[in-house]
C-alpha cells in the first residue's frame, strides 16, 4: 500500500533525524559571508552551519563540510553577526490602564505607614505572566538585528522580575531563554501614597531591604530552633525580596540621571547587592564613581537629557542641542574611559529609533567593534548567558544576523535573521525604492475635535523615505510617535499617551494635502477628528 509505505518513511525519518523532534529542526549553511563576532577573530570568508536551533559548526569556507540536508545560503559580500541582545526593554507589556493606577498590595508596611497603605512594590511579579508578544514589534526588532530582548516590568519601585526572550515568534513559552533574570528597581515615586518624593523612595528602598533581610534572618533562626520564638508572619513581599539581599541574586537598577547612578551605587554598597545599573545616559559624568564601583552597566541609547540636567534647565533649544550633540557621545566617552557596558533601547519608542541612535552613537565616536560587543557578548556576560549566547560559536544558540554590509552603516540592510535556528527573511523596506512623494517633516499645529470639545497640540515630524518619526506635545506632556508611515497621501502613526500614570494608545490616520492634514484618531472606546496645519519655519 502506498499509504503504508509513506507511514514507514515518516517513521524512519522521525527516528533517524532528531531534528524532526524540534520545531526549529532545519539545517542551514551560510556560506562565503564575512563573520564578525567579537572577541573572536574576524573570518573573511566563512561558513556557519546551523542545525536544530544551534550553531553546529563555524569556520573558513572550504574547511567546513556542508551537510547534505542543509539549505545553502549564499552570502557573498554580506556580513554575519551574532544576534543583538537588547538587555533592557519594556516590550510586550499590556497592562490595562485601570489596573496600573492601583498597584497591587504587596505588604511592606513602610516605616510608620498604616497597613492599609498600598506600597508601589511587587518584587514577586514575574513579568513573563504579563507579556503579550506581537509579531509586528518582533519584526521591527529583527529588522535592526535584535534577536534577544530582556523584558522588564516598568511600574513601581520594586517593579518585578524580568525575562530574557528570543524573538522567535509570538509564544512566550517558546521564547523564554532565562526566567527570571533579575529584580528591577527604579527611583520612581508613588502618586498619592507613600513614598511620593525622591527622598521617600530612597528611604523606602533601604527599609525594604532591611526588612527583607530581617525577615529571612527571623525565618532561619525559627527554622533552626522554633521553640520559644514566635514564628515570622508570612509576607510575600519579604519572601520575594529576601534572595536579592541575602543570596545576592541580580538586581537591575534603572538610573535616569547622574544622581540616580550615585544613589544606586550607595544602596548597592550598603546592602552588598549584585547590582546592574541601567539607563545611565549621563554615565560619562560619573565615570570615576562607576569605575570605582565596578558595576555592570546597561546604557540606554536614549539621548534625551534628563530633567535634572543643566541642559534641560536652559530651555528647549539648548536641550535639543544637547540631545543631538552631547548625549550621543555618552557611550563613546565611557568606552574611552575604559568602562565596560552593554547598549539597550530602554526609553526609546521603537526599534527604528534604536537603530538611528545606535548609528548616532557610532558617529559620535564609539568604535564599531565596541558597539558590536556592547550588543552581543557584553550583554550576554552581564545577564549570565554567555555560555550559550553572545557569539557565533559551535554549540551556542543560533541567533545570527546577516546584513548586506556594515550593520552600523545606515545604507546597510539586515537581509536574514536566524533566531533559535529559525530563519526570518526581512522584507525590503519600502523606503529603499525612493522617497515618498509627500513630505510631512516640520512643525504642525494639531487641533483635535471630539465630543468633549477641542484640544490643541503641537506636532513635530521628521521623515525618512516613507518612515515618519517625531513627537506631539500638549499641555499634558510630550509623547513620541511610533509606527509612523506615509503611504501615498495617507499618514498614520500611533501615540502612546501617558497622563497621570495611565497610558493609552492613540492611532492617528489622516490624508496629507501639502500644508494640511485631516483625519481621525482612534482611542479605546472612541474616536475624534483632527486637523493639522503647518507652522511656518521662520516667524
Amino acid at each position: 500500500m502506498k499509504l503504508k509505505r509513506l507511514w514507514f518513511l515518516a517513521l524512519l525519518l522521525l527516528i533517524t533525524s532528531p531534528s524532526w523532534l524540534t520545531a526549529s529542526g532545519l539545517t542551514y549553511a551560510i556560506v562565503n559571508c564575512r563573520l564578525v563576532s567579537p572577541p573572536l577573530p574576524v573570518i573573511e570568508k566563512a561558513v556557519v552551519i546551523i542545525r536544530d536551533g544551534l550553531i553546529e559548526a563555524v569556520g573558513e569556507a572550504g574547511k567546513v563540510p556542508i551537510p547534505e540536508d542543509a539549505e545553502v545560503i549564499e552570502a557573498q559580500g554580506m556580513i554575519a553577526y551574532p544576534g543583538f541582545i537588547d538587555a533592557h526593554t519594556n516590550l510586550f507589556l499590556e497592562t490595562p490602564a485601570a489596573e496600573s493606577a492601583q498597584p497591587p498590595t504587596a505588604g511592606r508596611p513602610t516605616a510608620g505607614a498604616t497597613p492599609e497603605e498600598r506600597s508601589p512594590a511587587q518584587p514577586e511579579l514575574l513579568v513573563l505572566s504579563q507579556i503579550k508578544p506581537r509579531q509586528t514589534v518582533i519584526n521591527s526588532f529583527l529588522k535592526v538585528g535584535v534577536t534577544t530582548v530582556l523584558v522588564a516590568p516598568e511600574r513601581g519601585i520594586f517593579s518585578g522580575q524580568s525575562v530574557l526572550l528570543n524573538l522567535n515568534g509570538e509564544k512566550p513559552e517558546s521564547m523564554v531563554v532565562k526566567n527570571p533574570v533579575a529584580l528591577h528597581l527604579q527611583f520612581v515615586t508613588a502618586r498619592g501614597s507613600y513614598p511620593n518624593s525622591p527622598m521617600g523612595t530612597v528611604a523606602f528602598i533601604r527599609q525594604s531591604f532591611l526588612d527583607a533581610a530581617y525577615y529571612s534572618q527571623h525565618l532561619t533562626t525559627w527554622k533552626k530552633s522554633p521553640r520559644f520564638l514566635p514564628r515570622p508572619v508570612y509576607n510575600p513581599f519579604y519572601e520575594a525580596l529576601a534572595p536579592f539581599v541575602n543570596e545576592r541574586k541580580p538586581v537591575i537598577i534603572t538610573c535616569n540621571n547622574q544622581e540616580d547612578i550615585k544613589r544606586a551605587i550607595r544602596i548597592t554598597q550598603e546592602f552588598k547587592l549584585q547590582a546592574i545599573l541601567s539607563g545611565a545616559n549621563e554615565a560619562w559624568r560619573v565615570a570615576e564613581e562607576l569605575r570605582a564601583a565596578k558595576l555592570p552597566l546597561l546604557v540606554a541609547l536614549n539621548f534625551r537629557p534628563p530633567a535634572t540636567s543643566l541642559y534641560s534647565a536652559q530651555g528647549e533649544a539648548v536641550r535639543r542641542k544637547a540631545e543631538q550633540e552631547v548625549y550621543p557621545a555618552n557611550p563613546a566617552a565611557l568606552q574611552k574611559m575604559g568602562i565596560n557596558f552593554a547598549l539597550t533601547s530602554l526609553g526609546l519608542s521603537d526599534a527604528a529609533t534604536f537603530q538611528k541612535n545606535l548609528q548616532a552613537a557610532v558617529k559620535a565616536g564609539l568604535p564599531a567593534e565596541a558597539a558590536l560587543k556592547a550588543l552581543t557578548i557584553t550583554p550576554a556576560q552581564i545577564l549570565g548567558v554567555d555560555s550559550f549566547l553572545g557569539t557565533i560559536e559551535p554549540g551556542k544558540i543560533a541567533n545570527v544576523v546577516l546584513s548586506s554590509g556594515d550593520i552600523f552603516d545606515a545604507k546597510s540592510q539586515v537581509e536574514k535573521v536566524w533566531v533559535d535556528g529559525q530563519l526570518f527573511k526581512i522584507e525590503k523596506a519600502p523606503e529603499a525604492k525612493g522617497p515618498a512623494a509627500i513630505s510631512v517633516a516640520g512643525a504642525w499645529k494639531v487641533t483635535v475635535s471630539g465630543p468633549m470639545g477641542e484640544m490643541e497640540m503641537t506636532m513635530e515630524l521628521e521623515q525618512e523615505g516613507s518612515a515618519v518619526r517625531g513627537a506631539i506635545s500638549s499641555s499634558y506632556g510630550r509623547w513620541e510617535i511610533r509606527d509612523g508611515a506615509i503611504s501615498g497621501q495617507e499618514l498614520s502613526f500611533t501615540l502612546s499617551v501617558t497622563i497621570m500614570g495611565q497610558s493609552m494608545d492613540v492611532a492617528f490616520s489622516g490624508r496629507v494635502e501639502k500644508d494640511l492634514i485631516e483625519g481621525t484618531l482612534q482611542v479605546p472606546g472612541g474616536a475624534a477628528d483632527f486637523k493639522a496645519t503647518r507652522i511656518p519655519r521662520e516667524l
Binding site: 513602610t110 516605616a111 510608620g112 497603605e117 507613600y194 518624593s197 525622591p198 527622598m199 560619573v286 503641537t458
Partner: protein
C-alpha cells in the same frame, strides 16, 4: 572633526566645571568687614589652601598666588542661609505625617540653577531642608555652594545633622481644600500635632530600650532560647538619634504658644532644638528663647500671608536680637536667596541694629545655628576662605555682589560671567523658535 572638538569640549566643561584658582588667593585693598573683629578700611586677605591665613594691610602674595585688586570694594564673610530648599530634587514627602527616615542627603541636585542664583548674591553656605508638610519631616543637610562641583563635594561635613519638625497650619493642612469624600490627614488640629510628635518620640524611647535590652541579653548570655535583635527601623533610628543627641531639631513654627509647647516637649524627652523657623511671633517669647539658647531663623519682612502669620511685625528680628536671641535671616526661596544682604540692612532701619549686628544675621548667627561658626561666619584667620566681595557697602541699597569665593576658589565672578555670556552669544546666537509662536 570640528564637531568632535566642540563635543569633547562640552564633555570636558561638564565634567570639570568652572576653572578653579586652586584655593590660593590674595584680595587686596578692599574694605574688610570682619563682622567679629571690626572693619579694616583698606586691607588685604590672604587665603591659602582654602583657609584664611592672614588679614591686614600690605600683605604680599607668596609666589604663584593669584592677586585680585578689590580697591573701592567691600569684603564680607560669605553669606549663610540657615533655611532654604534649593539644590534638592524634592521638598516634601507627604505620603505620611511622620517621615523622619527620609534624608535630603539622598536627593542632592548639584545642577539646580538656584545655586547659581544664590552665589550671585554672595551666599556660600546653605542649610537645605525638608519642607514643612509633616509634624516630623526629614533629615536636612548643610552645603557649600560650589557651583559646578559634584553634590558630594558640596557637603559641609562638620555641620550638625538636623531633623525637621513642623507645627501649625502647614501640617494640619489647614489651608488645603479637601475634596468631597476625601478624609483629612491626621493630625488635623494643634493638639493632634503635639500628640503625634509625643507618640513618635515615645516609640523612639521604646526602640532604644528594645536595643538596650537586646544588647544586655546578648552580653550576659543568660538566655537559653533563640534571641533575635529588634528590626532596624530607619524612622525610629533617626528619632532615637535625636534623643541620643546625635541630631538636633529644627522646628517650623509660627505661633508663640505652639513654640512654647514644643520647647516643653524637648524638655520632656531631652532633645536639643537648634532653631525655630519663620516664627513671626518670636517677639512675644524672646526672653524664653534667649534663656533656652534656641535660635530663630526668620523672614525679614514677610508676614500676614496666612492666619498664623497675622501678628508678624517689622521690628521682630532686630528686637529679638537685642533681647539676646540668636537671630538669622533666611530666604526660604530660590529668588530671595540672592538678596539676603538687603534683608539684613532692613534690620537697621526697622529696629536699629548696628551694621555688625545686621551683618551677623546673615553670617555669624546662621553659622552658629548650624554648628559651623568655628569655620565660617566671620573673617578670621584660621576660618575657611569663604568671602563675598560687593561693589558698594553690602548694606547699601545700591550694592551688588561681584565676587563669591568659597575656600579660596572663585565660584562667581560677575565681570567674567558677563564677558563669557557675551562671547557665547556671539558664537551661538539665541536660536530662533521653530514653531509654537512667540
Amino acid at each position: 572633526m570640528k564637531k568632535t572638538i566642540i563635543l569633547s569640549l562640552c564633555l570636558f566643561l561638564v565634567a570639570v566645571g568652572p576653572i578653579l584658582a586652586g584655593g590660593n588667593l590674595l584680595l587686596k585693598n578692599g574694605t574688610i568687614l570682619t563682622v567679629t573683629k571690626g572693619t579694616i578700611p583698606k586691607g588685604d586677605i590672604l587665603i591659602l589652601d582654602g583657609f584664611i591665613r592672614q588679614i591686614g594691610e600690605n600683605i604680599t602674595a607668596p609666589a604663584g598666588v593669584k592677586v585680585i585688586d578689590v580697591s573701592g570694594k567691600y569684603i564680607i564673610p560669605g553669606i549663610i542661609d540657615s533655611h532654604t530648599h534649593i539644590a534638592l530634587s524634592g521638598t516634601n514627602e507627604t505620603g505620611n505625617a511622620i517621615t523622619a527616615e527620609v534624608n535630603m542627603r539622598d536627593v542632592l541636585h548639584a545642577e539646580d540653577t538656584s545655586i547659581f542664583t544664590a552665589i550671585s548674591g554672595g551666599v556660600t553656605t546653605i542649610h537645605t531642608l525638608h519642607g514643612s508638610a509633616n509634624p516630623i519631616g526629614g533629615q536636612n543637610i548643610t552645603l557649600k555652594l560650589k557651583w559646578g562641583k559634584k553634590a558630594e563635594e558640596m557637603i559641609f561635613a562638620q555641620a550638625w545633622p538636623t531633623l525637621k519638625f513642623a507645627l501649625g497650619e502647614n501640617v494640619t493642612q489647614a489651608n488645603r481644600t479637601v475634596a468631597g469624600g476625601e478624609e483629612r490627614r491626621y493630625p488635623a488640629s494643634r493638639m493632634g500635632v503635639v500628640a503625634i510628635i509625643r507618640r513618635e518620640l515615645q516609640r523612639a524611647r521604646e526602640y532604644i530600650a528594645q536595643w538596650d535590652r537586646y544588647n544586655e541579653w546578648q552580653r550576659l548570655k543568660i538566655l537559653n532560647r533563640p534571641l533575635l535583635p529588634p528590626c532596624k527601623d530607619l524612622q525610629l533610628e533617626a528619632l532615637a538619634d535625636l534623643l541620643r543627641g546625635k541630631l538636633v531639631a529644627r522646628c517650623h513654627s509660627y505661633r508663640s504658644d505652639e513654640t512654647i509647647e514644643f520647647i516643653q516637649l524637648s524638655h520632656e524627652f531631652g532633645f536639643r532644638v537648634a532653631c525655630f523657623e519663620h516664627i513671626p511671633e518670636a517677639y512675644k517669647i524672646a526672653k524664653e528663647l534667649a534663656a533656652e539658647k534656641i535660635g530663630i531663623s526668620v523672614f525679614m519682612d514677610s508676614w500676614a500671608y496666612k492666619v498664623e502669620a497675622a501678628e508678624g511685625i517689622a521690628t521682630m528680628p532686630a528686637y529679638c536680637a537685642q533681647q539676646g536671641v540668636l537671630v538669622s535671616i533666611n530666604s526660604d526661596s530660590n529668588e530671595r536667596i540672592r538678596r539676603l544682604f538687603n534683608d539684613a540692612a532692613k534690620a537697621i532701619k526697622y529696629g536699629g541694629l548696628s551694621e555688625d549686628e545686621a551683618l551677623k544675621l546673615i553670617t555669624l548667627n546662621p553659622a552658629i545655628q548650624l554648628g559651623v561658626d568655628k569655620w565660617v561666619g566671620s573673617l578670621e584667620v584660621g576660618k575657611h576662605g569663604d568671602v563675598a566681595v560687593f561693589n558698594e557697602h553690602p548694606l547699601s541699597a545700591y550694592t551688588r555682589c561681584d565676587l563669591t569665593i568659597i575656600e579660596g576658589d572663585i565660584y562667581f565672578d560677575r565681570e567674567a560671567y558677563l564677558k563669557e555670556r557675551q562671547e557665547a552669544q556671539k558664537v551661538n546666537p539665541k536660536p530662533k523658535l521653530s514653531g509654537g509662536g512667540q
